[in-house]
């Protein structure tokens, strides 16, 4: 058979039906309502005449000639494609049809202009929608009549589709117009309602003075809406909103805030805390060893000096003082005190009453083996920054005798 036999058969049926009934009576009954008086009977007459005489006979013939039609359409479709070709094919083939029904020359230009006019009509109607619906003008009827006229030239489904689109639009507008018909004896007027609302609340002076509620104070607006509210609630079964009498905890929010702050604080601490912890760790571990190491080192230095210059005590200050660093000086004093405590050196005052360091003889240590016979002597050395500077300048110490190891 054919490639899409059912579709083509439908297309043929539609296009032929359009030719049979060029009036609108083939459409939905809704359009009859909106069309108005004049065009309807005329249209119907025309349609009935067609139905009676020509179209019916034609449809009967159509059933007989469907086979040949289908074959022709297939061939044509390969060239052109689409449903437009249907009308083209029928003219040469179905010569048995009544010539009144057929458009003899399907002019493409004509179709294009029809489509343009339809689109123009649709656009106009959409633009003037407000006018058409709200006023009591005949513009909708006029538009429909124009569509009527256009439809006479329609022979293809493309234009017919545009016509259908226009009719949907027109029927929507018609429905809205019908809605506006008010069969009530007393019409419900918005403006009157508005004024009466003001009267009801007791604000009629607003109207009298020619003002509007929008220009008035906020307090007046509040009273207005308050009074309307009071009246309205007596007509509604609204459940009151539930509230605790003394308020409630807003547990969620308060739990979040301290968490955030605490988090921030914790972050800060951790950010700065890297450095101190590392250093502390270093110090803690190496503390004990550092002192011993330093003491040994200084002892070594002292002993080297004594070997170089035997029997020459070294001035205490010259030995410990570091002219460049006060803290180093204090550390040196600290370490030297260990040396003295352990008996590797001796400190005493010379003839100028200045302290000097002397090596202790190993023999001397052996003779007086008991360290207690020394007699515990304690000395406290206090050194302030100013003293240190004075010492440096007085003794003219240019460089430290105890060199730094690190």
């Amino acid at each position: 058979m054919g490639r899409r036999p059912r579709l083509q058969r439908c297309a043929v049926a539609i296009s032929l039906r359009y030719r049979c009934w060029p009036s609108e009576s083939c459409y939905l009954p809704a359009t009859n309502m909106s069309k108005g008086e004049g065009s309807l009977p005329g249209g119907k007459e025309k349609g009935e005449e067609m139905v009676g005489s020509l179209a019916w006979r034609y449809l009967v013939k159509q059933g007989e000639e469907e086979e040949t039609l289908k074959q022709e359409e297939e061939e044509e479709e390969e060239e052109e494609g689409g449903l437009d070709c249907c009308s083209d094919d029928l003219s040469p083939e179905t010569s048995g049809m009544h010539p009144d029904l057929l458009e003899l020359a399907v002019d493409r230009e004509k179709c294009r202009s029809i489509r343009r006019q339809y689109r123009q009509l649709i656009y106009t109607v959409q633009q003037n929608r407000e006018d058409i619906v709200n006023t009591a003008s005949d513009s909708l009827t006029e538009a429909l009549e124009e569509a009527n006229v256009l439809f006479d030239g329609v022979s293809r489904t493309r234009e017919a589709a545009l016509d259908a689109q226009f009719l949907v639009l027109a029927s929507d507008l018609g429905k809205e117009k019908a809605k506006q018909l008010n069969s009530d004896m007393s019409f419900f007027n918005h403006v009157v309602f508005c004024d009466l609302l003001l009267v009801f609340v007791g604000l009629n002076w607003v109207e009298d003075q020619g003002e509007e509620l929008s220009d008035c104070d906020d307090s007046i607006a509040l009273t207005f809406w308050g009074m309307v509210q009071k009246e309205a609630t007596s007509w509604m079964l609204r459940a009151e909103t539930f509230h605790f009498v003394f308020g409630s905890f807003k547990a969620e929010r308060s739990a979040r805030k301290p968490r955030l702050e605490h988090h921030k604080r914790a972050c800060k601490m951790e950010g700065n805390g890297d450095m101190p912890t590392k250093l502390r760790k270093l110090d803690m571990n190496a503390n004990q060893e550092t002192t011993e190491k330093e003491v040994e080192r200084i002892l070594g230095l002292l002993q080297t000096y004594f070997q170089k210059y035997p029997d020459t005590p070294v001035s205490y200050f010259e030995f410990v003082v570091d002219p460049n660093s006060f803290s180093r000086t204090v550390e040196n004093i600290f370490y030297v005190s260990f040396i003295i405590r352990d008996g590797f050196a001796r400190i005493r005052l010379d003839q100028d009453r200045l302290p000097i360091l002397e090596p202790t003889n190993v023999n001397q240590v052996d003779e007086e083996s008991d360290p207690c016979s020394y007699g515990r002597k304690q000395g406290v050395i206090s050194l302030s920054l100013q003293d240190w500077k004075n010492i440096v300048s007085t003794f003219e110490i240019s460089e430290a005798m105890i060199k730094n190891s690190c």
């Binding site: 403006v191 509210q229 509604m236 459940a239 009151e240 539930f242």
Partner: protein
């Protein structure tokens, strides 16, 4: 689910619950006693009805019902319908199998203690709202509706407009009307804040209004209709009477509207006499 808690008349209310509750007869409703009996018997029935879940004691069930009541009350604060899935997820959890009973009990308690009805918004939609079971009375004119912003007045006006205009009204006409009262869609209002949001979003979300697009309009216009909640909380007759009161006229002045309202009243009253067959 639960449409309206009907007053059940229990032949031979069981007095075996032990807790004889002191019934405060403040409301003076004649069916208060029946409700008490109903509550007691249904809760005892509930305890008997769960032989499969022996782990649930009476106390646990009571606790669950209390939680459910609290949940419903707090969820209703914003007036947005409460979804059934929310209830199951947050409150019921393991007690899913007895959910209908729990809900029924909670509804009874709400009705009895607070005077609120738990109603399903639309049949089979699984969303619930609370409405006031007590008709407004002259004396509590000061108390009712004085919490928060006075939106009920605006709502009533809009419902009136919609009803008197047929059953729907384009949004533009609503704004034309409200302009005369100093309410603009784009301007901030001293009482309502953002009126456009209030009307097109909040009221729609609370299901007082329904908004639908009008086809073929170029600046997109919506038409407003009554929402399901409006039909539950008020009625056409009431809105008509409100409008009539403002106009200081009789509602019969608008014959078609009055007929519609009357038909609506009858349809509301209709099913009840036929449905009062004992359903236990």
């Amino acid at each position: 689910m639960l449409q309206k808690p009907r007053c059940r008349s229990h032949p031979g209310a069981q007095p075996d619950s032990g807790t004889s509750e002191e019934v405060p007869n403040g409301s003076g409703r004649p069916d208060a006693k029946q409700d008490t009996a109903g509550t007691l018997s249904s809760s005892s029935r509930l305890a008997q009805a769960t032989p499969a879940s022996e782990l649930r004691t009476q106390k646990q069930l009571e606790l669950k019902v209390a939680e459910l009541v609290q949940f419903l009350l707090i969820k209703d604060q914003r007036k947005i319908p409460i979804k059934r899935t929310g209830i199951l997820k947050h409150v019921i959890r393991d007690y899913k199998d007895i959910f209908p009973d729990l809900l029924k009990l909670a509804a009874e308690r709400l009705h009895y203690v607070f005077g609120y009805k738990l109603v399903e918004l639309e049949p089979k939609r699984n969303a619930y709202i609370l409405i006031n079971a007590l008709e407004p009375v002259e004396e509590d004119g000061e108390m009712r509706g004085n919490q928060g912003t006075p939106t009920t007045g605006l709502l009533m006006i809009i419902l009136g407009l919609i009803f008197m205009n047929g059953h729907s009204i384009p949004e533009t006409e609503v704004w034309d009307f409200l302009r005369r009262l100093g309410v603009y869609p784009t301007k901030k209002h001293s009482v309502f804040g953002d009126p456009k949001k209030l009307i097109t979003e909040d009221f729609v979300r609370q299901r007082y209004l329904e908004s639908r697009r009008i086809p073929h309009t170029d600046p997109v216009d919506c038409e407003l209709q009554w929402g399901p909640r409006a039909n539950l909380e008020t009625s056409k007759m009431k809105v008509l009477k409100f409008v009539a009161k403002v106009h200081n006229q009789d509602p019969k002045v608008w014959p078609t509207r009055y007929c519609e309202a009357l038909a609506d009243e009858q349809s509301r009253a209709g099913p009840e006499p036929s449905g009062s067959a004992p359903t236990s």
